[in-house]
């Protein structure tokens, strides 16, 4: 295996691997600071922060260092490359670069969103001078609120790394952002009348290493050091972007994408990034309800779950063919397994079906060309399938029911009076059942609905179980490509609503507390298609299920 040296430490390179100095150094825990370089964007080497000394090892073993500094981001590493990132020359260059960047930078830290996760702060602290030698007036530049619906720009904080401009040219292809003027007067801007409102726009805020581009949604809301991050997966489509859910005091403040080369790369779309407000909607179901003759009904979880368990068991005993459960593609693998395995254990004749899979338009790929048409190679896809776990729930259904029964069938069967008891699991915050379909379930003697938001079918339900959102549960989602990723609870469900995994855990008679990792061992052993999750821990990047024919012939519900 080819080897290079970084600060005297050896770095192993895979044969054929193409790394730059920054990546090679990261492998041995050496951070080479950089602003303009990003693994998903072109290399411009313009910030000059990553300057290092580089040399080659000759066949006889002597090392010949290049006389001048070179940017680490544009220098490839091969067998025998020697990188020195800690010499006096390198340190002096970093100090100088930081001094230059701070020359016209306003002293905004106390009012700047980026404080606490700012690369300028961090690198200045580690590599820079602690005082400025500037005695001249700074360049002043106006703030620009018109950059986009979600994006505002504090122009004087910008360090001209051009990541944002390159993103709109190379990833989204929509080219809204530009650099105007020349030299020290340069500014980021849009063409008047063409704001940066493409569906990937929010990513430029993440890319901005300083607090120049800010999210209007998050502006001045929270100091980042009060935020706690939970690693999770965005549920809004089957791309399944890895995200961090940032919350403080049980209140989610923002979602940010998490690097995952196996999932989506480094970005996420705005639909997911800003599409979590329903977590805090007034309409959230906040307590369970068993309807009785009294006005209030029973609202105690223990009582309700006991009664529900008995009701289901009796119904199955009486006639299992009249019992059905609809498993939403918004459920986790663990939840669908708990419900399906319990029902099928009670009787193999219970009907299991997949909940409606909402599809909006077609897969939206980026970048786009000047006419708005997608081009190759695809750098990002917003998928038309707007649910997080059709594949995972599908595998569970395939295993326990031998097939994946579509929701529409259950609706018509219910309308025809086939079922006495139906357990509906909702979970799609954009709505999953319309009035006509809800009407069909009016026939069912005992209707159980588990959901997080109200829907037309609640009127017919005997049991309403207030469930949680993706941010309130632990579990596993499987994306379009069969990548199984862990989601983690970051906030508590509001009021007396409960994480669905806990509801099922207790309902299905399990003892102790729900533990996703342990349950995955059981699932992996029981269901061959899901064997990959058997280790329990799936890591930060998830694990790929062994390839199974994509169960894509599931009929979908077009929105």
């Amino acid at each position: 295996m080819p080897t290079a040296l970084v600060n005297q430490k050896p770095v192993e390179l895979e044969p054929g691997e193409r790394l730059n100095c920054i990546q090679a150094a990261a492998r041995v825990g050496v951070e080479i600071p950089a602003y303009c370089w990003h693994p998903s964007l072109s290399v411009v080497a313009s910030c000059r922060m990553c300057l290092v000394e580089v040399g080659d090892t000759k066949p006889d073993g002597t090392v010949v260092m290049q006389p001048k500094l070179v940017p680490g981001c544009q220098t490839p590493v091969k067998e025998g490359t020697v990188i020195v990132a800690d010499s006096e020359k390198v340190k002096a260059a970093r100090k100088a670069t930081l001094e230059y960047l701070l020359l016209n930078h306003p002293l905004d830290c106390p009012v700047c969103d980026q404080a606490g996760e700012c690369f300028l702060q961090d690198y200045s602290y580690r590599f820079g001078r602690s005082y400025s030698r500037l005695q001249e007036p700074k360049e002043l530049k106006p703030d620009k609120d018109h950059i986009g619906e979600q994006i505002t720009l504090f122009t004087d904080r910008c360090i001209m790394c051009t990541r944002c401009v390159r993103f709109t040219r190379e990833i989204s292809g929509t080219a809204e952002l530009q650099v105007i003027n020349r030299g020290t007067h340069e500014e980021i801007d849009i063409f008047p009348g063409e704001p940066c409102n493409n569906k990937l726009a929010g990513n430029v805020v993440d890319l901005c290493p300083v607090g120049a581009l800010c999210s209007k949604d998050f502006l001045y809301k929270q100091r980042v050091w009060w935020l706690q991050s939970a690693k999770s997966v965005c549920p809004n489509c089957s791309t399944g972007c890895s995200v961090n859910v940032d919350q403080n005091e049980d209140h989610v403040h923002r979602l940010k994408p998490r690097d995952n080369p196996q999932a989506q790369g480094s970005f996420m779309c705005d639909e997911g990034r800003f599409g979590w407000k329903y977590l805090q909607a007034e309409e959230r179901l906040t307590y369970p309800l068993q309807k009785t003759d009294t006005t209030d009904g029973i609202r105690d979880w223990t009582a309700i779950l006991n009664a529900l368990k008995q009701t289901v068991e009796q119904a199955v005993k009486k006639n299992p063919q009249k019992v059905a459960a609809v498993l939403s593609p918004w459920m986790t693998v663990e939840e669908s397994y708990l419900l399906a395995s319990w029902l099928k254990k009670l009787s193999s004749q219970v009907t299991l079906a997949l909940g409606p899979v909402r599809v909006v338009g077609e897969d939206d790929t980026y970048p786009k060309d000047i006419h708005g048409q997608p081009v190759q190679p695809v750098k990002f896809t917003i998928r038309a399938e707007k649910c997080p776990n059709r594949r995972g729930v599908g595998e569970v259904l395939q295993h326990f029911a031998g097939k994946i029964k579509p929701f529409a069938e259950v609706v018509s069967e219910a309308a025809a009076g086939k079922y006495d008891l139906v357990y509906l699991v909702g979970g799609d915050p954009a709505g999953w059942i319309d009035d006509a379909q809800a009407q069909a379930f009016g026939q069912v003697k005992t209707l159980i609905v588990q959901d997080l938001l109200p829907s037309p079918v609640l009127a017919h339900a005997s049991f309403i179980l207030a469930g949680g959102s993706f941010a309130e549960r632990d579990g596993t989602f499987v994306n379009h490509a069969g990548l199984a990723q862990e989601i983690h609870k970051s906030v508590r469900a509001p009021g007396n609503a409960r994480a669905d995994n806990r509801i099922f855990w207790e309902l299905t008679g399990r003892t102790g507390l729900f533990h996703a990792g342990n349950l995955r061992k059981e699932i992996g052993e029981a269901i061959p298609a899901l064997a990959a999750i058997q280790p329990g821990k799936l890591g930060d990047l998830g694990v790929l299920l062994t390839s199974t024919p994509d169960n894509a012939q599931i009929p979908v519900v077009h929105a």
Binding site: A45, R48, M49, A96, L134, M160, N181, T184
Partner: protein
């Protein structure tokens, strides 16, 4: 010393110097005919053997650069002619283009044959409107005479020359800045590698050559390698990397002299000779305090360095950056170096493309420090600060993408190193020399 017989400037005073007819009457396009009868590789070999070094400022061996092109490339291969002459003090390209356009066109044609290019772009700076008109006329004459276009003179060789006007940016003189500008973008120089010979204009192999360099190519093909090498400053035996300086050179003389102008001489003439013999001496009976050796990017020669030979190696030996464009600008002893340095710093701050951090911020910082000094509020530490800032920017230490920073830094380094007492006195006395004219132009 016998009078040197100009070759590059031989025709510029003729009445009919710009027409094709006049050019042909003087034997013009004979060199091109000779080249067409040679294999491209042989033409390249001639230029390599001549040791012609680029006249645009970097002095890179021209023929060697041509050999960097990939062999057996399916094409297209482009030639980009750098007529963006913007280095302050420099005007020799303008004279060549305005007065003898066909010498350049012939050089372009020869070069394109050697590098197997069928398309040459002539990037002319916006301010050279007359050059543009003269060249457009000359190119049109060539098309009409079948010297350009398809199947030139039945040889099966094609060549198109496309004139392209700049829009007022010095950085377009940097070869990859020129390429970006030609492609329709902001003229931000590219990181290298890849070098233009591998991936240049429109991502195809491209050679960028200066106007004077291409005129030399015409004369090399016409008069031979030996002729070119007969004018020489041989390489320094102690320095194996010194390729020597060959051929005639155009030297521009301007500033405080009696007879500013452009003169053609063998390489290696001294600044003193240029001033006294060709420039009519320092004006108003004064003495020279400082002389810019090759456009302001190269720094300054002090009064006791005027005997430095101005070949590619000479100025570097006395702390200047190099020969650059061989444009000398004379500063008399009644002019303050502080004012002169401010003019240089203001130029570079205005022209910095802004792409990389040290140049974007450093050039403006230096200008602002000079402004404060000239406003009477300088401190002695400012001089050390200026030296430090100047020392930290450029491709020589490796901290920037292109050489504009080095050019911005060198006048500062030379001025403070060689004229420090004058700066210190200015600061100590709290002198103030900002003029009303400069206040009118402030912030730029």
């Amino acid at each position: 010393m016998p009078e040197f017989e100009p070759v590059l400037l031989a025709r510029i005073h003729k009445a009919d110097s710009t027409s094709l007819e006049g050019y042909r009457a003087d034997g013009g396009y004979g060199a091109y005919q000779k080249a067409l009868g040679m294999a491209p590789a042989d033409v390249t070999k001639m230029v390599v053997d001549s040791s012609l070094r680029g006249r645009g400022g970097a002095g890179f061996p021209c023929g060697l650069k041509w050999t960097f092109l990939p062999k057996d490339h399916p094409g297209p291969i482009y030639l980009a002619v750098n007529a963006d002459e913007s280095e302050p003090g420099t005007f020799n390209n303008r004279i060549l283009m305005e007065q003898d356009p066909h010498q350049l066109i012939e050089g372009i044609a020869i070069a394109c044959h050697a590098i197997k290019s069928e398309k040459a772009f002539l990037y002319i700076r916006y301010e050279y409107g007359r050059c543009y008109r003269v060249l457009a006329q000359a190119v049109q004459e060539c098309y009409a005479a079948g010297l350009l276009g398809q199947n030139i003179q039945g040889t099966g060789i094609n060549l198109d020359i496309q004139l392209h006007r700049g829009a007022g940016a010095y950085i377009c003189g940097e070869e990859t800045g020129l390429i970006e500008s030609l492609e329709g973008k902001r003229a931000w120089p590219r990181i290298k590698p890849p070098f233009p010979a591998i991936e240049g204009l429109f991502r195809k192999p491209t050679i960028v050559n200066n106007v004077e360099t291409l005129c030399c190519v015409t004369q090399i093909l016409g008069r031979g390698v030996d002729w070119f090498k007969s004018m020489r400053v041989p390489p320094d035996p102690k320095n194996p990397r010194d390729p020597g300086s060959y051929g005639p050179k155009l030297y521009c003389i301007s500033g405080h002299v009696n007879k500013p102008g452009c003169v053609e001489l063998p390489m290696g003439v001294t600044a003193r000779e240029l001033i006294d013999v060709h420039g009519g001496g320092v004006w108003k009976g004064r003495k020279a305090k400082a002389v810019v050796p090759g456009g302001i990017s190269m720094g300054f020669l002090s009064a006791d360095e005027l005997d430095t030979p101005l070949d590619f190696a000479g100025p570097g030996k006395v702390g200047c950056m190099g020969l650059g464009t061989a444009a000398i600008v004379v500063v008399d002893d009644q002019t303050s170096m502080v004012d002169v340095l401010f003019n240089c710093c203001r130029f570079f701050a205005h022209e910095s493309c802004g792409q990389c951090t040290p140049c974007r911020e450093g050039t403006t910082w230096m200008r602002k420090i000079l402004e404060r000094i000239r406003g009477g509020h300088g401190k002695l530490e400012d001089l050390d600060l200026l030296m430090e800032v100047a020392g930290s920017m450029g491709i020589i230490p490796g901290t920037t993408i292109c050489g504009l920073s080095d050019g911005a830094a060198w006048p500062v380094k030379n001025a403070i190193a060689k004229f420090r007492p004058e700066f210190e006195e200015y600061i100590r006395e709290g002198r103030r020399s900002i003029t009303p004219a400069q206040e009118l132009m402030a912030t730029h």
